[in-house]
Amino acid sequence: MASSGAVAALRGIIVKEARHVLRDRQTLIILLLMPLVQVLLYGFAIRTDVRGIRTVIVDPTPDASTRALTASFSASVRHELLAVVPTTETLERAFAAGTYRQAIVLPTQVSRRLARREALPVHVITDGSDPNAGNAMKAYAEAIIRRWYAESGGSSARGAPGITVETRMRFNPTMASANLFVPGLIALVVTIVSAMMTAVAITREKEMGTMEMLLVSPLRPATIVLGKVVPYAVLGLVNIGIVLSAAIVVFHVPVRGNMALLLAMCLLYVITTLSIGIVISTAARTQRTAMLAALGGLLLPTIMLSGFIFPVDSLPAPLKAISSLVPARWFLVIVRGIMLKGSGISVLWQETLVLLALTVALLTVGIRRLSVRLD
């Protein structure tokens, strides 16, 4: 086939596939609304107002200053001060039982330290089993302690040792913060749109018998697949746009790094997920199988093993090993790096290479398997 003919054929397939997408209104609406709904759901869920935090203060040497702090916590509408105890001995069990959700551990001789302007290390221990609530609780406690410190005449002069509030999360050492869900959400949405829809679209043609018509034509398998995936790539990018815009406009999530780099990485990830969709479609005979494979084999790892919800570091070793094969894991590091830390490619090149390697491997497998035709 002449190359201009190949281009025309490719365009023909793309147009046809775009028509499939645009004519299936119900699916299209779901695909476009889903990311928006998810951003809003996650966003507002994270803003949950925490009240009635069951609090204990550990005060080895009570004095006037510590009583002022205790009073502050008693007065706080957020906190429910249950006890003031002298030691941390019983804390472990009380936390496990859920008696307390937050402990404020003071050093000894607080008044004297204040007077002498010595260092004042305060520990705030928070139940992090509900990450979002835990984050909020931590922030409230810190605010109260800092206000109390300022009112107690603590030094605000530069160079003075001052107060150090050290916070520690129980049960969930690295906290998911309000900004962290957006990268995960991009991964999730792209996985659904690109991988699942691609897999379903290709297996649908197998099921309907139309794939045979394409395979007995002079088209090469790669052309068929390329033509079919382009509309889903566009849809995936549109969805990324929706998630990012909503995150930036509604929740003021920062993009500290280079926006162009961010979008380029999103495009790479879209291609990764499309490749996964192709691989699934070469194995699955029916749309139902393709859908289940995408859900079970892809969506779950993307949520569970990518660091979206559970930090990769806290996974057990076998799962941690598996997580290295989950593209979303690397994508998350990249997107969080660009958005939240303002990292550039010089920092993220390793993750990018891994993602690139995974993509190339998936594409190779997918196209090779398709070339085996319908044997």
Partner: protein
């Protein structure tokens, strides 16, 4: 549709300047000990047959006799385990892409996109076969007129009746003017009148020089073929004109032949 209808199709066998084709090869299809095994099961067992240009050749057999498998090897969807075959003069093993460019195919499953319009389907397949827009438009007019479907070109395929859809699929398979047309049980599930119309289409296509290979298990249809072959358990039991086949078995109808072949004890 009458026989006096002006035949719209160019005799592509004469007009195509294909070197491989303009040679002395007299057969549109030439299968030589063509075999396909799936594991230990031999679906097609060393079949040998020829189809002359412009012939309507019937491929008969019970379900599972191997006729679909044989056809899939000829159109390049399956690789033969053994033997060889040429279609339109091209070797199916060495140049399946060359074969695909010269053939048309209509499967037993309805194979157009039902969420696209008639015109959109035609445009798509035209583009796939590298036809330019003008050619597509001209041929589409002719094809749609022939089956009386021009008024429906903007209708979604799923909204037109099944019988018409089958004829449309047939017409789309002819859009790129293939030299050989493969029809895999094209009349499955359509009413007798539509079947009749369908055979008229097949005849006029063959009259225009396109070779037609058709699988069917309707034995009355087999009577319409110029020549036919009956497959039993993956092998060819008999080949010839309907008259020859009946004479060989001393049978009055192809039905009888078929019964004798598939259930020797009953006959």
């Amino acid at each position: 549709m009458t026989d006096s209808h002006t035949e719209p199709f160019a005799l592509n066998a004469n007009t195509e300047p294909l070197a491989l084709n303009a040679n002395t090869e007299p057969f549109a299809i030439n299968a030589n000990a063509l075999t396909r095994r799936f594991g230990t099961f031999t679906a097609v067992d060393a079949i040998t047959f020829n189809v002359t240009r412009g012939e309507v050749f019937g491929f008969l057999g019970a379900n599972g006799a191997g006729k679909t498998t044989a056809m899939r090897m000829l159109i390049g969807l399956l690789t033969p385990s053994d033997g060889s075959a040429t279609v339109a003069g091209i070797d199916v093993v060495h140049d399946p892409e060359g074969v695909r460019r010269r053939i048309g195919y209509m499967s037993q499953r309805f194979s157009l996109y039902d969420d696209l319009t008639v015109q959109e389907n035609i445009t798509l397949f035209g583009a796939i076969y590298g036809l330019d827009d003008r050619t597509i438009r001209e041929r589409a007019d002719v094809l749609l007129d022939r089956i009386g479907l021009r008024h429906a070109r903007k209708d979604l395929v799923r909204r037109i009746p099944l019988g018409w859809r089958q004829q449309l699929a047939f017409s789309v398979a002819l859009l790129h003017e293939p030299q050989v047309l493969f029809l895999d049980e094209p009349t499955g599930g359509v009413d007798p009148i539509t079947r009749r119309r369908f055979w008229e289409l097949i005849y006029s296509t063959a009259a225009a020089g396109t070779t037609v290979l058709v699988t069917t298990h309707y034995l009355d249809e087999a009577e319409y073929c110029d020549r036919l072959t009956i497959m039993v358990d993956g092998a060819i039991a008999v080949t010839g004109t309907p008259g020859e086949v009946k004479a060989t078995y001393g049978a009055r109808s192809l039905d009888d032949v078929f019964l004798k072949l598939t259930r020797p004890s009953a006959a």
